[in-house]
Structures are given as structure tokens and as C-alpha cells.
Amino acid sequence: MAYVVTDACVDVLDRSCVEECPVDCIYQGDRMMYIHPDECVDCGKCMPACPSDAIYWEHKIPDELAVFTAAAAEFVRAQQLGGGAADTSVGVDHPIVDERKPR
């Protein structure tokens, strides 16, 4: 259960959401943020904080963006993220983000 960052964040990365998160579970990729689905406590604070409206609740995410739910889970597993996000980027992204054209 978790909130999910979607492609409206790609190349924005202003980290407004990170400021809000009480449990530091929003990790920065090279071009997009990723919320750790096992660490997010569903408090909902990041969603209204996002100026790009990039964040959705997993349970209310539009169908066309639902791929990002799986992508976040795959990304944190592949990068072995956990235990609290650092201030710096992980340096890579999920392939679904790599496919996006630069803004």
C-alpha cells in the first residue's frame, strides 16, 4: 500500500514531496522520484505538496498510470533501496522512465 509518483515528475524533481514525507520514503532517481511501497505509511501529505500533480494514491490511480505502481516496487527492489532516503539521486531510473523524452 502506498502513494505513487508518476511521469508528471519526470525532469521536475523539485523535491517538494520529500520535504513533507514524515518517514523519508521518497527516493530520488535520475529523472523521477520513487516512493518505497513498503515504507510509505499512507499519510497523504506528499500528494497536495506536489506542484506537478504527479502523486496518486495507489488505490485511486488512473488506469493509464497504474504502471508506475509496479515500476516503483521494481525500482526499489532492483536498487535495493530502503531504510530512509538520502539527499542525493540514486543516479538511475526504471526503464519506464528512461523511455520518456527529455522535457
Binding site: M1, E20, P22, V23, D38, V41, C43, K45
Partner: protein, 718 residues
């Protein structure tokens, strides 16, 4: 922010109303409700509130789902089918009140008024509509006094015996703590807004240790997780005291000046060595030593206990032992040091104006609600037997133990049951009359908190939906129909709000009804978090004014705070209490009852769910989707030994009953421990039973706390 409305806004206006979460949760979040054309369109956390900080939680973010759920009970209903059939017809309020008044009057005449019993708790915890809302009515009626000890009653008795009813540590002061010991409390699911303070302390170098039989989200996020056998927390706490004393880690000056009974305590804990505790708890002796050294050495250190800790045979003495530790190491000296249990005690709530204990008939009998099933079925010798129940603010079928017996009792044809509810709960289905209750958006209230130091005001945001009424109005109507004319039964909500606090108390300086209405919330007039250290120089609200290792209040025997029993001090449990902290092992364990453990080898724990608050929200589609199908966590070894695969339906049973959920194989639990969260409703369950079917009605040692976590079961494929 636009204008704050005192009462519903005129249609077409769009306004923001200041409100407060009504749930029985320590965080008491300040909410902002947006209302457009008479309809609430958004509920969110108040970003200006220091503790709430703009966030609510998974339970309440979707509060509108609850308010506007099509399943709301909106009109009075009368049963038309057999009890439990769920068949009802709509009736008028007049008809409902006539019938209730006539039945209550007839029962009181025929059997005596104690044949009637209220059943309620904290389904809403506002001062007006919460714990004590029905107390004057039932006192006047002469009904059986309901003892309501679901939560913290045992811890309160223990805590009061040791350090008095003090607020302890300001949760906001935790940023100054150097060592944070979270004991059996899953903060990330049940006290979410405290976590940022802990996280900040940690960024400043504090160590966070979680003691819990389960690797909860909170335990996983901590620096260290100490997993111990369920119900052995007291052994760990006493062994910590043993190490602190043996190794000379005490604050001798604090002990000499601000505690009593130290020598006797030293003698008592000498037997509780880390090696002894290792056998009892499963925690290695060296881990216990290190924990004690770090706890004593990193000052200020703080212990955060939740409500789970009291829920086994020795829960009370466990809290006594834990409440002794800060005095031992002088943790109280600085802000952020001590023990955090219930900041509630800082609020000068005018409980008397709501309970009206002077209206009770002296000597009136008291029945504890955990024994409701037995009370209804002859298991308790009651003369006269219970013939009528009035249930509000509670769904006992889900939250009371011994579910099967309770259902049997509720089915009695000669029992007259009234349930006031927002939804057709598992309990309401057995009612003769169901009355429609409002949600928080439809009522005014004023809130204390048991997790921070802010008073919060809840403005009614919208008109009541259908014919729902607040609990205050329910009892005004019932009292009028019964012909009660005392002024207490005619108070308006605004008159009650004016009586909610002792406004002349120093903690209320600068706080008025008007200022609260305007601002929504205000911090009590106490020292700010950076200097809040009420016991730096002792000053404990105990008989001696000191922290009492030897509790003078134990002399009168075991007791339940009158707050949890309608203000009554009659028929207290009263059994002798050893004034020194000591270890009481769990009742249902392989050590205490090997024969029982041979048949039922697994310890069942039943913590609060992430998406439900007790049984509240357990019916809502969205919350059920988040919480997922009820399950039981079982260790891979225990699952393998029973041929259980992940996702298999399993039957969990003991001599009291059984329930069926899906297995989730997870090494977050210790071998021998299984975990199933509370709150799913019986009507949605597999095999018509929830975990309340297997939990015991037996009390813990102090304060008649429940022993929900002192439960042995076996699990097998269903």
C-alpha cells in the same frame, strides 16, 4: 483561510470549517473541512497545526467516504425479522423514543433498573459525545454501571500508582531525546504524527530501539529491534533495572531526592538477572545489558509505551516496572526524558460535569463490558439478570472478547437491545431498535488529546444527514421522554462546551471557547517543548510527591480509575497488590500452562490494523481494499510444520472458538507467534467469526485491563 463557520454555512457559500478527528487515536488531528453548497467536499489536515502538520492518515483521509457512505443508518429502525437477520423497518423518532421509554420503564418496574446496562466506549472521543455522554442518564435511571476498560485502564492504574497521573513527557520534546525506547507501539500505523519528532531526534544522533514481538513497520525503521516473547515485557524491564543498579548506572541524587522505596526495589530486582530474563523473554542476556547501559547512559532517554503493553496477565506490573526506570536513571531531569503514556493528564477536563457521579445510586452494581457475553448468558451470576442493553459508541461484537457467547446472549428473545450507530454494524443487526448517529462533520465537539498537548475544537461543518443526531441530542431526547427534568438533561451542546474544561486552571490560561472556535486549536499553557520537564525536581502527583518504587496507592488493592466506570468507586476489584514491581508471566504460555500449550502452541497477537481504527472503517469499501482480506502472519517454520502455504485459508482456534482468515507467511513474527489485526467485521468474515471468537475475557493484574495478547491458539488449513 475563509471565514470559519460556527454552524452550517448558508448554501452556495464555499467555506472552510475547522474540525477535529474524533477517532480514538493519540494524534487528535486538526482537520479542515471544505464545504460547498451545504455539502462537505474535502477533508484534510491543518497544515498550521504543529503536530498534525497537514497530514491525516490512511483511515481519515477519506473521511467523506464515511460521511456519505450509502450504508449510513439515517433513520430510526425497528426490527422485523429474527434477531441478527438484519430485517428492519423505518419508524419515526417519536415511535422509537416511546418504545424505548416504555420498555426501560417496564423493565425497571418489573426487574429493577439494574436489569438495564449501557454498553459504550470511544467510537467517538469528543468530550461531549464520547466516553461519558450517557453517564448521567444511566445514573438517573439506576442502571448497572458499565466498566469500560478496553484501553489503557491497566496502564493508568499502574502508572498512577508509580508516578501519579502526570502528562509525563511532551511528545514534541522527543526531538531532544538522546535515546528513544519504543515499547510495543507501532507508531507508524497508530501514532503516525509522532514519528517526525523521533526521526528528527534520530537525525541529531539519537538511537531508536523498538521492543516488540513483531517486526512492525516501526521496528523495521528503527536502529534496533528487540523481539521478545509475547507477554514477557515485564521480565525485560525488570532485568534492565537489575543491570542499571548492579552496574551503578543510577542517578543517585535523583533517587535520593525524588523517589521513595529505592532500597526495597533494589532488593526486589536482584532476582531479575539478564540471564533469568533471557530464558523468559528469549532476548539474549548481553542484548539486555547493552540496552540497559545505553538507556541509562544516553540522557535524556524516553520510553514510549502504547496500549498493547497491558494486554496480558502481568500487564499492570509491566507498566509499573517501566514507569520506575526514568526515576532510576534521572531521565526526568531534562525535556525529552521520562516516560510517555497519556499526555491526556495535562488537560483539566471537567469530567464531573459529564459523568455526574453524584447521581449514581450508592452501591450500584458494576459489570465489566468484557464479560458482556457471560453477563447475558448466565455465566455471571447477576440478580436481576440483564434484560436491556443500550449500545452507543461501540461495536462489541467485534471488539469484545468471547464473541460466540456474546452472540448467543444478543440473540436472547427476552433481551431488549437499543443500538445508536452510524452503520448497520454486527452489533446493530441484533438490535430491536437502531437509532441514527451523526459523524464528526455533523456535530459540534471539543477534544482533549492523549498524544499531544493541544485542545482542539470541532465545528459542525454540515447539517446532520437524514435524521441522525449527535449522542448529546440522543440522550436529551431519551431523558425528556423518560420525564427527567434535571438541568443536566437540558443542556445544549454549547452549554456543555462551556463546561468542558476547568477554564480557570493555569493550563487553560489564554484559552477560551471563543479563541478555540476561532483558531481551532491551542496549545495548553504549559512550558514549550524545549523546556517542558515537569519532574526535573520531582513534583510527581503521588501521595509522597515522589516517584514511588513502593507504591503507597497499592494499599487499597487493585482499582479501575472511576473515569472508566461512569465515576463509580463502588465494587472495585480490590484484590491485594504487591506495592513493589514484580514479574507476572503470561497466563497462556508454555511455561505457565504446558498442558494448554501442548494443544494450542501458538501465541496470538491482535494489534490494530493499519487502515481501521478498532472496528471503525472496517465496513467501508475503500478501507477494506487498503487493509486487504483479513489474514494471519505466521512464521515460515510454523507454516511448514502445518503444511500451510501462503494465501491458504486457515482456521485459528482454541477452546473458546475459532475464526478463519488467509495465511500470510512472514518472518516478521517470531516462531511460535501468530498475528491477526483487529477490526474486520464479522459479517464480512469467512465462517462468521472474527478474532474476538478466541480472545479471553480474563483480566490483567491491574485496572481490569484485557488480556487479548495472552491467547494461545492452534492454526490449521481450513
Amino acid at each position: 483561510m475563509t471565514a470559519v463557520a460556527d454552524s452550517p454555512v448558508t448554501p452556495a457559500e464555499r467555506s472552510t470549517v475547522r474540525a477535529a478527528c474524533p477517532q480514538d487515536c493519540p494524534d487528535t488531528c486538526a482537520m479542515l473541512v471544505t464545504v460547498a453548497e451545504g455539502k462537505a467536499v474535502e477533508v484534510k489536515g491543518d497544515p498550521d497545526h504543529p503536530f498534525t502538520n497537514g497530514g491525516l492518515c490512511v483511515k481519515v483521509n477519506n473521511y467523506l467516504d464515511k460521511v456519505y457512505d450509502p450504508g449510513r443508518v439515517l433513520f430510526p429502525l425497528r426490527r422485523t425479522g429474527p434477531k441478527g437477520s438484519g430485517r428492519f423497518e423505518r419508524i419515526t423518532w417519536d415511535a422509537a423514543l416511546d418504545e424505548i421509554a416504555a420498555r426501560f420503564t417496564a423493565i425497571a418496574e418489573e426487574h429493577g433498573p439494574e436489569a438495564i446496562m449501557p454498553v459504550s466506549y470511544l467510537g467517538t472521543q469528543g468530550i461531549l459525545n464520547g466516553l461519558n455522554v450517557g453517564d448521567p442518564f444511566f445514573a438517573k435511571l439506576g442502571a448497572t454501571v458499565a466498566e469500560r476498560t478496553y484501553c489503557d485502564s491497566g496502564a493508568c492504574t499502574a502508572y498512577a500508582m508509580t508516578i501519579g497521573d502526570t502528562a509525563g513527557v511532551d511528545p514534541e520534546s522527543l526531538v531532544h531525546s538522546r535515546f528513544i525506547l519504543v515499547w510495543a507501539c507501532n507508531i507508524m500505523s497508530t501514532n503516525l504524527h509522532l514519528w517526525p519528532y523521533i526521526a528528527e531526534a534520530r537525525r541529531g544522533g539519537a538511537k531508536v530501539v523498538v521492543v516488540d514481538p513483531v517486526r512492525t513497520r516501526t521496528a523495521a525503521a528503527a536502529d534496533q529491534h528487540i523481539a521478545l516473547r509475547p507477554g514477557t515485557d515485564g521480565a525485560l524491564a525488570l532485568a534492565m533495572a537489575n543491570v542499571i543498579i548492579t552496574e551503578g548506572l543510577t542517578d543517585d541524587d535523583y533517587i535520593a531526592n525524588h523517589t521513595v522505596g529505592y532500597d526495597a526495589f533494589v532488593e526486589r530486582v536482584a532476582q531479575y538477572t539478564p540471564e533469568w530474563a533471557e530464558i523468559e523473554t528469549g532476548v539474549p542476556a548481553d542484548t539486555i545489558r547493552t540496552l540497559a547501559r545505553e538507556y541509562a547512559g544516553a540522557q535524556p532517554s524516553v520510553i514510549r509505551i502504547g496500549v498493547a503493553i497491558e494486554r496480558h496477565a502481568g500487564g499492570g506490573q509491566t507498566v509499573r516496572a517501566l514507569a520506575c526506570l526514568p526515576g532510576l536513571v534521572g531521565a526526568w531531569r531534562k525535556p525529552g526524558g521520562g516516560i510517555l503514556q497519556l499526555p491526556l493528564w495535562a488537560f483539566p477536563v471537567n469530567w464531573g460535569a459529564f459523568m455526574h457521579p453524584e447521581m449514581l445510586t450508592p452501591g450500584k452494581r458494576v459489570v465489566n463490558q468484557f464479560q458482556l457475553g457471560e453477563a447475558l448468558t448466565g455465566g455471571l451470576a447477576l440478580d436481576p439478570p440483564i434484560t436491556a442493553l443500550m449500545v452507543y459508541n461501540s461495536n462489541p461484537v467485534v471488539v469484545c472478547p468471547d464473541q460466540d457467547t456474546l452472540i448467543e446472549g444478543l440473540k436472547r428473545d427476552d433481551l431488549f437491545t437499543v443500538v445508536s450507530e452510524q452503520f448497520m454494524t454486527d452489533t446493530a443487526e441484533y438490535a430491536d431498535i437502531v437509532l441514527p448517529a451523526t459523524t464528526q462533520l455533523e456535530q459540534d465537539d471539543i477534544m482533549f488529546s492523549w498524544g499531544h498537548l493541544y485542545v482542539t475544537y470541532n465545528h459542525r461543518a454540515i447539517d446532520p444527514i437524514g435524521e441522525a443526531v449527535p449522542n448529546t441530542e440522543l440522550f436529551r431526547r431519551l431523558a425528556a421522554r423518560m420525564g427527567y427534568t434535571e438541568p443536566v438533561f437540558r443542556r445544549t451542546d454549547q452549554e456543555m462546551i462551556a463546561e468542558a474544561f476547568d477554564w480557570s486552571h493555569p493550563h487553560m490560561a489564554g484559552i477560551t471557547v471563543e479563541s478555540l472556535k476561532e483558531r481551532g486549536w491551542q496549545r495548553l499553557n504549559v512550558a514549550p517543548p524545549e523546556s517542558y520537564a515537569p519532574h526535573a525536581e520531582g513534583n510527581f502527583p503521588t501521595a509522597s510527591g515522589k516517584a514511588e518504587f513502593v507504591a503507597s496507592a497499592a494499599a487499597g488493592g487493585n482499582f479501575v480509575l472511576p473515569l472508566f466506570r461512569q465515576g463509580s468507586n463502588d465494587h472495585q476489584p480490590g484484590q491485594p497488590v504487591d506495592p513493589l514491581p514484580h514479574y507476572i508471566p503470561p497466563r497462556e504460555s508454555v511455561h505457565t500452562d504446558p498442558e494448554l500449550a501442548a494443544r494450542y502452541p501458538l501465541n496470538l497477537l491482535t494489534p490494530k490494523a493499519h487502515a481501521y481504527l478498532n472496528s471503525s472503517f472496517g465496513n467501508l469499501t475503500f478501507h477494506r481494499q487498503v487493509q486487504k482480506e483479513p489474514n494471519v502472519l505466521i512464521h515460515p517454520d510454523d507454516a511448514a510444520a502445518r503444511g500451510i502455504g501462503d494465501g491458504d485459508p486457515v482456521r485459528i482456534f482454541n477452546d473458546r472458538g475459532e475464526f478463519t482468515v488467509l495465511a500470510k507467511i512472514d518472518d516478521a513474527v517470531l516462531p511460535g507467534v501468530v498475528v491477526s489485526s483487529l477490526g474486520g467485521w464479522r459479517k464480512h468474515s469467512k465462517a462468521s467469526a472474527t478474532l474476538a471468537a478466541v480472545t479471553p475475557t480474563a483480566f490483567a493484574d491491574l485496572g481490569n485491563a484485557p488480556t487479548f495478547s495472552d491467547t494461545l491458539v492452534e492454526v490449521e488449513i481450513a
